[in-house]
Every structure is written in C-alpha cells, then in structure tokens.
Amino acid sequence: MDFTDILISLIKIVVMFGVVLLTVAELVYTERRISAFIQNRLGPNRVGWKGLLQPYADVLKLLLKEDIVPTAANRFIHTLAPVISIAVAFSTLAVVPIAGETIRLFGREVQMVIADVNIGVLYILALTSMGVYGLTLSGWSSNNKYSLLGGLRSSAQMISYELAMGLSVIGVIMVTGSLRLTDVVAHQSGWMWNMILQPVGFVTFVVAAFAETNRAPFDLPEAEPELVGGYHTEYSSFKFALFFLAEYANMITASAVIVTLYLGGWQVPYLELLNLPVGVTIALQILAFMLKVAFMLFVFQWVRWSVPRFRYDQLMNLGWKVMLPIALANVIVTGIVMLLL
C-alpha cells in the first residue's frame, strides 16, 4: 500500500463524510417536516426555500452556545462519550459497497467501497456493539440520575437486540457463504434479494436495527416523560449536537446495512441486459443504492411517528422471549431448507 492508495482512500473517506453530513442535515429537516404532515402541522418552512436551510441554522446556533459541564460530572469521560458515539457512527459505513463496477483513478482500478475487508459483517456487528460505550459512558459520567437510568436502559436494550441482530445475519451468511459484503451483494443479482430468500430474518433484522439505533418505538433511553433527555440530559452546545449527529448517522448506517444485506445493495435487476457503458452503469448502481437507502430512512421516520413507545418490560420481553427464539428458529429452518434443496 503506497501513497497513491492512501490518497485514494482519503478522497473516498472525505466524500463519504460530506455525503453523510449533508444527508444528516436534510434528514433532520425531513424528519420534522414528515412528523408535521403526519400530525397535520406545517413544520419548519421559514429558513431558506421551504425551510431547507433550517438544519444549518440549528447547527450554527448549537456551535455558538455555552458548553456546560456540570461540576459533579467526570469531565474527561463526559467529553469522550460523544466522540466515541460519532466515531462509531461514521466508521461503520467503511465496509458498505455502493456500486459493483470499478472506476479508474490515478491509473488504479478503484472499488466503490472504502475498505473491502473479508470480515465485513463481523466488522459491522463489532462496531454497533462499540456504540453502547458512547451512551453508557455519557449516562454514567454526567452524575445525573436521569442520565444514569437512560444509559443503563440503552446498554441493556442494545445488547439484548444485538443477539437477535447477529442471529438474523447468520441466515444471510449461510445463503451467501461469505462474510465479505461485496460477495453478499454480488450474490443477490436479479431479483434474488435476501429479503425474498430470508423473509423472517429480514423482519427480525429490521426490528433489531430499530432497537439498536434507539429509534421509536424503542426510544426508551430518551423517553421524555420519564427521563427528561435520557443519557444526554447534561449535554449542551456541540456535544449535544454530536449525539444528535451520531443518532442520525446511525440511522443512515443501519439503512445502508439493511439495504446491503437484504435489499440487494446496488443491484438493479436486468441492468446487465441493456449493455450500457460502464459510466452509466456505475451511476445507475449508485443511484439505486441511494434510492433504497432513502426509502429505508423514510420507513424509519414513518414508523417513529405512527407507532407508540414500548414499556420497558415489553421491550425486554420482545427482545428475549420473541425475537431471540424466532431468530434461532430461522437459522435452523434455513439450514434444513438449504440441505433439502
């Protein structure tokens, strides 16, 4: 690996950061607009055309606010926690391929993925577990009862649903026979998407992804009526913005992972029959990937504003007594079907 390779990686990383940051900004805007329309309101529509510049105004405002660290808090961990959250949220996207063809850059064949590692699925699961640290440490270090309870709840919730998530993915790995995400997508050519081959695994994975990203109906860690702001009660200024950013970036990551594992990634059915030039093919593949991710993001917001929040015991019962057995049974049934066919 020489200087050119590192330069190409850096270009890809910077482009990905830009795309994710812009998507987060507009995601906050669409979230507020969609919730407003669902509740028969208008939502933000003053800053810029139809309110499109609202999120940028919000970020600027948060940047200019006073950064308050309570006297009772552990200052170092209080600052470390949002950095962990944001680093984990961004790093997961490194292994997700966004197109199948390669492009030529500086005389190299460049793949449309930042790091094509052979343990892509394990990498994603490992980093989502790391995300627990950000929330738990922020809850503990604030030395606030609401924060502590929010942090505890989120760690218990995330580790419970991580099991169902990991077990759902096993079905996909059995079908594909590889942990590399480019292989997983390549295996789903045409209409052979894993959503069709693994319908039960798809449902359990999506539910677990909702719980992992702490989105409604599983947003117990920040249940406002009981816990004020949950783990980020004591956060202000840009540290609060970083948690917000991490939450939305996690949503994008979860959507991208769902699309890659179950909805065919960048695959466009019957595209190879048209014999298009490589440039057009790659553009269509990236477009297909982004449209699928956008659809999943819309589903995330749609569910949040349509479904009421779970009670905590219902949440844990669903995770341990429903999702875990279903996911285990899915592995067994997948095995039997694959061996019989």
């Binding site: 910077v14 606010k65 009772a72 680093a87 790093s91 030395n143 099991l163 096993i170 004591e234």
Partner: protein, 118 residues
C-alpha cells in the same frame, strides 16, 4: 491482507479528529458565563439529592450475563455458517445439538425468572 484495514484506521482517525475539533471549536466560539446554579446537576429544578452513583437494579447484570453467554454462541455460529454448504448434514446435526443444549439452558433461565421485569 492486513493492508485492507488501513482505510478503516484512517476513517476512525478522521472521525475522532472531527469530534475533538468540533467540540473545541464550540468551546472557543461559545460564551463562558459560569455560576453555581448553572453548573449544578439537573434534577427538575430542585437541589440534587445525593449523588447518582448509587446501586441500581441487579436485573441489568442478569441481562449482561445472558448476553455474554448467547453472544459467544453466536460467535461460534459464524464460521459454521460460512462453511455451511461444505459441512452438509454432519455440520448441521452437530450445530443442532449445540443449539439444543443452549436452548435448554435458556428455558431454565426463563423459568427461574432471571429475565422477568416487573
């Protein structure tokens, strides 16, 4: 082989730098007007009662313990899933025995009420 992990190190580094720089930037740009009440712990507007680092429900530990057991089970299943076609029925039967043993333990744990939230 190991070279494919260099971009991951780069991306983690850049994300950490992004977080640290933006926190420091807001610290530089924002006002600093501290006083005792503003920096006290938030407890719905009243003076905070004792510290938050007190004992909490043992059930969180039970969840964490069960998680470790089942997560290790899942980790054992990944290499098996990758090699599933090559291993065939033999591998399937062996893994089924493993799953049944764990399922018995899981049912015992449920009957004992270890995961009962009230």
């Amino acid at each position: 082989m190991i070279e494919s992990y260099i971009p991951i190190l780069l991306i983690i580094g850049i994300a950490v730098i992004f977080g640290v720089v933006s926190i420091n930037l807001s610290w530089l740009l924002g006002p600093q007007r501290p006083y005792r009440e503003k920096h006290s712990t938030y407890e719905s507007g009243v003076d905070p009662v004792s510290t938050a680092h007190y004992r909490f429900s043992v059930k969180y530990y039970m969840v964490a313990l069960s998680f470790i057991v089942f997560d290790i089970e899942v980790v054992f299943m990944y290499p098996w899933a990758v090699q599933f076609r090559e291993l065939g029925w033999t591998g399937f039967v062996v893994m089924s025995v493993f799953i049944v043993v764990l399922a018995v333990g899981f049912i015992y744990e449920l009957k004992k009420g270890a995961l009962q939230w009230d």
